[in-house]
Symmetry: C2
Subunit: 402 residues, 2 copies
């Protein structure tokens, strides 16, 4: 299922190809979010034209609407949303625990709350999680088995096991107990999937363990021992980026020992510096709401030696600007000649065209970044390319110039 082409000498990075039921995915790759069955503001053909080979659908949201039975009747999520290439679905655990831990998402991601929190958690037990739907107020139940059943109905190429997303501000003891339960849920997911899972669907186990090095290592070992063909890294990754990179490094170091050839997905991480660091740490795929959400907030991704990698076009300073978002950028927004001033105006005027243009730009930026990193690994030049990108070289330019 996963073919590794090249391994970097100076880091854990590798390039490869995921061979999935609906096609191949070259790695390292960023995976855009189609949270509720659509990459917001884009058509599937737009996403494919940007070079993306896989998207992520969200089990929690699709469970609530339109519901797995309906998607199943279409033959799965690919058919329903007209995306013919690979799809990865998360387990729903992150969202459902966000309801209960009162802001776990914010703690884990360091972001503002999304607003979609009118639902609530009613109980967490060994069996699963009972919660109230934010859509209709009805009581729903998510267990390892129901998560796998929903993902089976969605017929994703990669399904993720249900895990408990432990928050940041808990004791080591809580994290240890929670991680143990995640491992028991992993076994239940794999048991269900072996009996009922759709042919061709691959299941990734999830490494938890909070910010404890030994728990992360033990979790990596448990996931490897379960025999699942791929591994995701989830849960709280620390209070800041250095700690996050450290925690991810603990996980991939352990995985390198126990299952070096299995593909690794880093859940919910997708800022530019984190993608570069994650690739160096041996991550093969990433998903994240940031690039598409930023676009809807008027923020464009740009090269930046200062490490922010973004320009906030909603700010008044861009009113009337004739500057392109990124000079020489080959994306549909920049090649059409849209200015920062127009995008500022469109954002202020709430014109959806502006959100679409910035979504195209941001996803094009990350597609080129990942393409650069793949080419750099294959050419044995990851170190210099990563350094060029960190120094402010634009993707595409970085690989050519370095």
């Amino acid at each position: 299922m996963f073919e590794i082409h090249s391994r970097d000498r100076g880091s854990r990075a590798r390039s490869g190809t995921l061979r999935l039921a609906h096609g191949d995915v070259r790695t390292p790759a960023f995976v855009p979010l189609a949270t509720r069955g659509a990459v917001k503001t884009l058509e599937p053909r737009d996403v494919a034209a940007l070079g993306y080979e896989m998207i992520l659908g969200n089990t929690f949201h699709l469970l609530l609407a339109p519901g797995p039975e309906l998607v199943d009747a279409y033959g799965g999520l690919h058919e329903f949303m007209r995306w013919p290439a690979p799809i990865i679905t998360d387990s729903g655990g992150f969202q459902v625990f966000s309801l209960g831990h009162g802001g776990v998402a914010d703690e884990i991601k360091g972001r503002r709350r999304s607003g979609q929190t009118s639902g609530s958690i009613l109980g967490i037990g060994e069996e699963g999680v009972r919660f109230r739907s934010y859509l209709d107020g009805g009581v729903r139940f998510l267990s390892p088995e129901t998560s796998m059943a929903v993902q089976a109905a969605l017929r994703s190429d990669i399904a993720l096991v249900l895990d408990e997303c432990t928050p940041f501000h808990v004791t080591r003891e809580y994290t240890a107990r929670s991680t143990e339960r995640t491992h028991r849920w992993l076994e239940r997911c794999l048991t269900w999937h072996a009996r009922h899972g759709p042919a061709g669907q691959r299941v990734y186990g999830i490494v938890q363990g909070g910010i404890e090095q030994d728990l992360r290592a033990a979790s990596a070992e448990a996931v490897a021992a379960s025999g699942c063909p791929g591994v995701a890294i989830g849960g709280t990754l620390g209070r800041d980026k250095p700690q996050m990179h450290e925690v991810v490094g603990w996980a991939t170091a352990a995985l390198e020992r126990v299952c070096p050839d299995r593909p690794r997905h880093l859940l919910g991480i997708g800022e530019v510096d984190d993608l570069i660091a994650g690739v160096e740490l041996g991550i093969d795929t990433f998903d994240c709401a940031v690039p598409t959400r930023l676009a809807r907030h008027g923020v464009a991704l740009v090269p930046d030696p200062a490490g922010r990698w973004r320009v906030d076009l909603a700010k008044a300073q861009w009113r009337g600007s004739r500057e392109p978002v990124l000079d020489g950028c080959p994306c549909p927004c920049c090649t059409a000649g849209f200015t920062r001033g127009y995008l500022h105006y469109a954002h202020r005027a709430r014109e959806l065209t502006g959100a679409r243009l910035l979504t195209l730009h941001n996803l094009a930026f990350l597609a080129r970044l990942m393409s650069d990193l793949r080419a750099a690994i294959d050419a044995g030049r990851l170190g210099e390319v990563a350094a060029a990108l960190r120094s402010g070289a634009a993707p595409g330019v970085a690989i050519a110039a370095s």
Copy 2:
């Protein structure tokens, strides 16, 4: 500026080409709205790919934001919004009088209010109209001269003179006085434009006259006598469709006598049956919010022998439907295989992708409809093609089959 290719024998319809500063427009044509500098949910390349050669920008909204000075600094609206082909701008009169007459828009259009009515009119006089901006509460003034100055800054290919949009429920005497003032404003617009208007910008006069046949005829004569190169038909067109068609017919009959070779634009009309009837009545171009607004409300245009020409995909009956929006439709939505069930879901979930897909479908539908009508006129077969369309033939199919 306007070249007439063919005239229909059984009606006032004609096919032609508008030769404008930024290119040619084949007529009869529908003109999509880019009200505030964007066709909502679409990029300019999308609009062009659907076959459109001209769009309409809204003087009232662009006056308030981003303001004519800013657009002028970009070199005009084409440059600002990255649409290289012709643009027609309205005068702002319709919107500003909507503030004052308390629902004139609804009376004229028979539609719900758009919600954008927190501004208000402060005074109408011979000089112009003073009103309060719905954006910042500031007092603004729109006169024949300021309307033309804004449109000069926007550098549209076709500018419309400022008119008073008389409401439906007024006396004949009020309509007569209002129409007289519209004619005086016409002269002031043309005087301003002759001195200050950008080279290549054409000015259309506007035929008013309410629902009075003699006032419509007199207005047509006044507009023709003014020497402006094109004519728009505006104002209240009656209480229902039969009366609207009758009023438009009075205007075009008069124009046929006094200026048969000048292009005619029908303001704010774009339902399918009205487009067919309008072409038969001798209209060359139409603009209307309906096809794009319907799309954002989940409504798709479809052939319909009953004359409604629409299907409301927001309705619960479409949940889970595997039916395409329109079988055999060559638009990007239908060719990609999107179902009514998916579009129902996307509308309910407020996914912008759904609004975009229906916008593409609806505009593609009208583009093919107008293309059919043009081809039918050229082939001397308008009667049969119009009959086929009214009987429920799909555009594209209608011209081939009849």
